[in-house]
């Protein structure tokens, strides 16, 4: 049923005759293993003589630790170690931006689930039972639970000594108090979404003979993990050797440390390999979540529908520790008007400490929350103006050469208008199950639960479009490293690509192979396991890896190629300038195929390592201005068609279509997969996904009660991929992974509004929001 418009292979970028290069969709190297269930994930790690670690977590969102008695736990047969903050060998603090989070709690706990003590034992059950024997005497304190109050009320206690504001950022442009013919306002809230990756946190630490440690673990960023882990262990970074284990999804949830330091502490203390695996419930406490947000918006427009101003206040609840809160505030404010031209802007963003669960990175970081608000506002404005919601968006769409509220001029294609028109023109569903004489209940709201046979079912259509920055921003030196080796093995030229760039399921391994095939003209490309014996790649996040690691692989390949052509020139007496590599052969411009690559190479091993740094970005000033706060922007537009059972408030998303500009589809199948997956995650936020927090406690830490979409919830998609290359990026690529997560949510909610007429100012929309 699904209709996919993915670009066919167009060889304009590269001369290549080798199969499986850039622009094609070769099978990923781990595909068969994963489908068969043979792929080894981090939870499958095993070592001879290994023991098991477990974590004692705080039952209180805010408390003072009066004392900890580890004696009874330590005396339990089978227990090898019980560790507390006193046992942290190095700096007992870590953090991605602000170094504010203890490895193990010292004196106070700031959220329910904070790690307090560790146990290593022969058996995981023994370790769990020993945890219950660790006696912690808590003095329970009043928790800080409301981010908005924490921002403004002096009486709210400070969660950290420096106060409760992690970051405050205003963006001011033009005259924010300008008058407008029409003004619409709204307050929007976004619930706490979980990454809901399927493979819970797991790792294995093996003590090294040099006093260091080898850590095998599923993560998004080996080097940043290593830097923080080594500091906490009091070791040199070189003494912490990390190797990537099979990652069962990440979506931002593996960017912060979880068990990294813990499992190493236990291994170094006991001298034994130690394994830790979180179960599903613990996983909800072991990683950060998407920031819940409260957002106040005011849009002003002329009576013709030209935006005059946007004024907004955004409150992000960062929970107990900073994590990525500063970046969420940066992204949320800079992208807070959406992909529109707005002459007058005042957006203020607050990222706050509270005693709620810590929040940090998740797909669409900081851009998901305001997109729900600004797109809801655009619909509200269109309704007030009596305009078509797509026409209003088209009228105000940003395009190349125009500037964002920070003053950054978009010097690359920004085809927002085109995306909107294209998604509107995609085919609509021809039938409605509610009008069928003999409907299959699974096509109706409520699905398999048999709640309607068509009664009270109303169809609605809604649109959403978004902007997301790609790569790190605001002055971060964003780079990746690749090492490429070319040699002849058994008569065949084989390339080996070595990076630390985490394959988290997105298909980066395939992309690296494709780039290498295209650049070196060799078919066989092996991917070295990710580890820290090569330079940093940064995190698999911010839709950045194909851009930066792709750029690094391209650069390393080109260095290898240059060396190889020099070698050819020396051997064959042809000038290197006229030579190229194609199909495993060295080709001359003038005389055609000169030699087999394997013959030229002989016993030589050519290895080159290169870093790729994208264009410089710059911090925001106090008014939120910057020449270039972000290196690139990506755009997607969604149209949702929903059937709503207005009697019961149940929703069936019938169709969810997306048009997205990807610059250059390096792997068209993977691009479509990213769009489908991202859309599903955005649909989840629209109608079901929310970590329910009361009094700082997570009430639904399980996949029984934290619901994610099933195949009956996620409809077929029309996916329309366009390629308007970014001249600044390798191959013209534009980040793909995040935008579809962002624009799908407002599209689905807009469609529910169209069907029901309800305001729906909160996501996820629950049945009770629709019927009450």
């Amino acid at each position: 049923m699904s209709n996919t418009h993915a670009p066919a292979h167009r060889p304009q970028d590269l001369e290549e005759e080798i199969a499986g290069g850039v622009g094609e969709s070769p099978q990923r190297p781990d595909a068969a293993l994963k489908v068969r269930g043979d792929f080894a994930y981090a939870s499958d790690l095993w070592a001879e003589n290994m023991i098991w670690g477990a974590t004692l977590r705080s039952p209180h969102p805010s408390a003072r630790i009066r004392s900890i008695d580890i004696g009874p736990a330590l005396r339990t047969p089978g227990v090898h170690a019980v560790l507390t903050a006193d046992d942290v060998p190095g700096r007992n603090l870590y953090g991605l931006k602000d170094v504010d989070q203890p490895v193990l709690a010292v004196d106070v706990v700031r959220y329910r689930g904070e790690a307090v003590a560790l146990v290593a034992a022969d058996h995981p059950e023994t370790a769990r039972r020993a945890l219950e024997l660790v006696e912690v005497d808590y003095e329970v304190l009043e928790p800080v639970l409301d981010a908005e109050r924490a921002a403004h009320e002096e009486s709210v206690p400070a969660v950290h000594p420096g106060g409760n504001t992690v970051r405050y950022q205003p963006i001011v442009k033009g005259d924010p108090d300008a008058a407008a013919d029409v003004i619409v306002s709204g307050t929007y809230t976004v619930g706490m979404q979980d990454q809901a990756f399927l493979g819970p946190e797991a790792g294995l630490a093996i003590p090294g003979e040099d006093g260091g440690v080898d850590l095998y673990l599923a993560t998004q960023d080996l080097h940043t993990d290593r830097k923080q882990t080594a500091a906490a262990l009091g070791l040199d970074p070189e003494q912490v050797r990390m190797t990537m284990s099979g990652v069962g999804g990440a979506f931002g949830g593996r960017e912060d440390l979880s068990m990294q330091v813990h499992v190493c502490m236990l291994a170094l203390r006991t001298g034994r390999p130690v394994k830790m695996v979180y179960d599903r419930a613990e996983s909800f406490f072991g990683h950060v979540h998407r920031h819940p947000a409260t957002m106040y918006y005011e849009h002003g427009a002329t009576s013709e529908g030209d935006l005059v101003f946007v004024r907004a206040r955004l409150y992000f609840d960062g929970g107990a520790y900073s994590s990525k809160t500063p970046v969420v505030v940066g992204n949320g404010t800079t992208l807070g008007v959406g992909p529109y031209v707005v002459p007058n802007v005042r957006i203020e963003g607050w990222g706050m400490y509270t005693n709620n669960p810590p929040c940090g990175a998740m797909r669409g970081l900081g851009a998901v929350q305001p997109a729900f608000a600004y797109e809801s506002q655009m619909d509200r404005l269109a309704e007030r103006l009596g305009m078509d919601p797509v026409d209003l968006r088209v009228r105000n769409a940003i395009s190349r050469g125009e500037s964002t509220p920070t003053g950054q001029v978009l010097d690359y294609p920004a085809p927002v208008e085109e995306l909107l028109r294209r998604v509107r023109d995609l085919p609509l569903p021809e039938t409605s199950a509610a009008e069928a004489s003999d409907p299959d209940i699974r096509d109706l709201p409520g699905g398999a639960s048999n709640t309607t046979h068509g009664e009270d079912v109303v169809r609605g259509i809604g649109y959403g479009v978004c902007i997301k920055n790609v790569c790190y921003a605001e002055g971060a030196d964003d780079f990746s490293t690749a090492r490429v080796r070319l040699q002849v093995i058994a008569g065949e030229p084989i390339a080996m690509v070595h990076t630390a760039a985490a394959e988290v399921g997105q298909g980066l391994v395939t992309v690296q192979q494709q780039i290498t095939r295209s650049e070196l003209g060799v078919e066989r490309v092996n991917i070295h396991p990710n580890d820290t014996s090569v330079g940093p790649a940064g995190s698999s996040s911010a839709s950045r890896q194909t851009y930066v690691t792709g750029g690094a692989v391209q650069a390393a390949c080109r260095a290898v190629r240059a060396e190889l052509l020099d070698l050819t020139a020396r051997e064959l007496g042809e000038p290197a300038a006229g030579l190229s590599l194609s199909g495993g052969k060295v080709v001359s411009e003038t005389s055609g195929v000169l030699a087999d690559l394997a013959d030229v190479l002989g016993d030589e091993v050519i290895e080159e390592t290169r870093e790729y740094h994208h264009r410089e970005t710059f911090p925001l000033d106090e008014q939120g201005s910057s020449e270039r706060a972000q290196v690139q922007h990506a755009f997607s537009a969604h149209r949702a068609v929903v059937d709503v059972d207005t009697g019961l408030g149940l929703v069936k998303v019938v169709q969810l279509d997306c048009s997205q500009d990807v610059g250059k589809a390096v792997n068209p199948d993977s691009v479509v997969g990213q769009i489908q997956g991202g859309s599903a995650q955005g649909l989840g936020l629209a109608v079901m996904e929310e970590i329910q927090v009361s009094e700082g406690r997570i009430d639904n830490p399980s996949f029984t009660d934290y619901l994610i979409p099933t195949i009956l919830d996620m409809p077929p998609m029309n996916v329309d991929v366009i390629e308007r290359g970014d001249p600044n990026a390798p191959y013209g690529v534009r980040g793909v992974g995040e935008p579809p997560t962002i624009s799908s949510t407002p599209a689905v909610v807009a469609a529910i509004r169209a069907a029901t007429g309800k305001a729906l100012d909160h996501v996820p929309v629950g049945p009770d929001h629709i019927v009450e």
Partner: protein, 302 residues
């Protein structure tokens, strides 16, 4: 932890008598989850999967109508595949349970013994006035299903007893079941409703789930509807039911609920939704009765 694997029913009863704290396990779809989440640490597991008679069902003739005796170990997938015609309400409810894997493993006996207020199998059994057969080395007894549940996750089972079977009268009229969940498959019930029409007896059965500590019937609604159907000769001349009757039935069903607010839904929504489900399922069942056809809406599993 001890793991007992009796090869016969009598061995199982003996084992339960000797280990009154043993946790019976059949499909394991509840017990294994509790073990994995460390919510339960039984001293002994009593594996019932080797007992063939638990996985059998039979149809027995009685003067007042056939009764299905369903062994406690019959999984949902077989209730759907083998008993869909005799017990349509139970089959519809079974289709809403979990995923194919869960329906292949999970059993009706386990659903009863777990006694979750949200158990999908319970409301149709209430609506059909099923009886639960309990057995121990002391003997066999049967209880009306409504007496079997004594509280949230509590039952009338004695320490030495096991659920051996469920006795359910074969349908003599249309049956329906409907369940609310905030996603379209694989979801724990926010509330459920079952209705069974008994044209021969001139009665109506109802079953409400997830709206009280135990599944229950809406007696007042049943009596109201039975009265309406009898007084106006509707069983004999089945015209469409007036909206007022359907509406009143929904109100009375909703009134029978005593729900709570929890992570799955609010009490207010549950009460509202239950009334809607009652109205719709009655409409489908009555249409079926009038037209003598299968219900509208093709039923399928997720």
């Amino acid at each position: 932890m001890d793991f007992l694997r009796p090869a016969s029913w009598s061995e199982a009863l003996e084992a339960k008598a000797n280990h009154p704290d043993a946790t019976p396990i059949a499909g394991g779809t509840d017990v294994m989850v509790e073990l994995n989440f460390d919510q339960r640490r039984p001293t002994t597991l009593l594996d019932l999967t080797r007992i063939e008679r638990l996985a059998q069902w039979s149809r027995d003739s009685h003067p007042e109508g056939d009764v299905l005796r369903i062994g406690a170990g019959v999984p949902y997938s077989r209730l759907i595949g083998e008993l869909g015609t005799s017990l349509p309400g139970l089959a519809i409810a079974s289709r809403t349970v979990g995923s194919p894997q869960i329906r292949n493993r999970g059993t009706l006996g386990g659903n009863l013994a777990s006694a979750s207020p949200a158990g999908d199998g319970h409301p149709p059994l209430i609506a059909s006035e099923a009886e639960i057969e309990l057995e121990s080395v002391r003997g066999t007894r049967t209880l009306p299903v409504s007496d079997f549940f004594t509280g949230v996750k509590r039952t009338a089972l004695a320490d030495d007893e096991l659920v051996s079977a469920v006795h359910v009268p074969a349908a003599t009229g249309p049956q329906q079941f409907s369940k609310i969940g905030p996603r379209n498959a694989m979801v724990i019930a926010v509330c459920t409703f079952a209705v069974a029409l008994h044209p021969q007896r001139g009665t109506v059965g109802t079953g409400l789930g997830s709206v009280a500590p135990t599944p229950r019937s809406a007696t007042e609604a049943e009596e109201f509807l039975a009265g309406e159907l009898a007084e106006n000769g509707r069983w004999e001349r089945p015209d469409p039911l007036p909206e007022s009757v359907i509406g009143r039935f929904g109100e009375l069903v909703a009134r029978a609920a005593a729900p709570i607010d929890d992570v799955r839904g609010t009490a207010r929504y549950r009460t509202h939704a239950l009334g809607v489900l009652a109205r719709r399922t009655l409409g489908w069942a009555w249409d079926e009765y009038r037209n003598g056809t299968e219900t509208s809406g093709r039923q399928g599993c997720a």
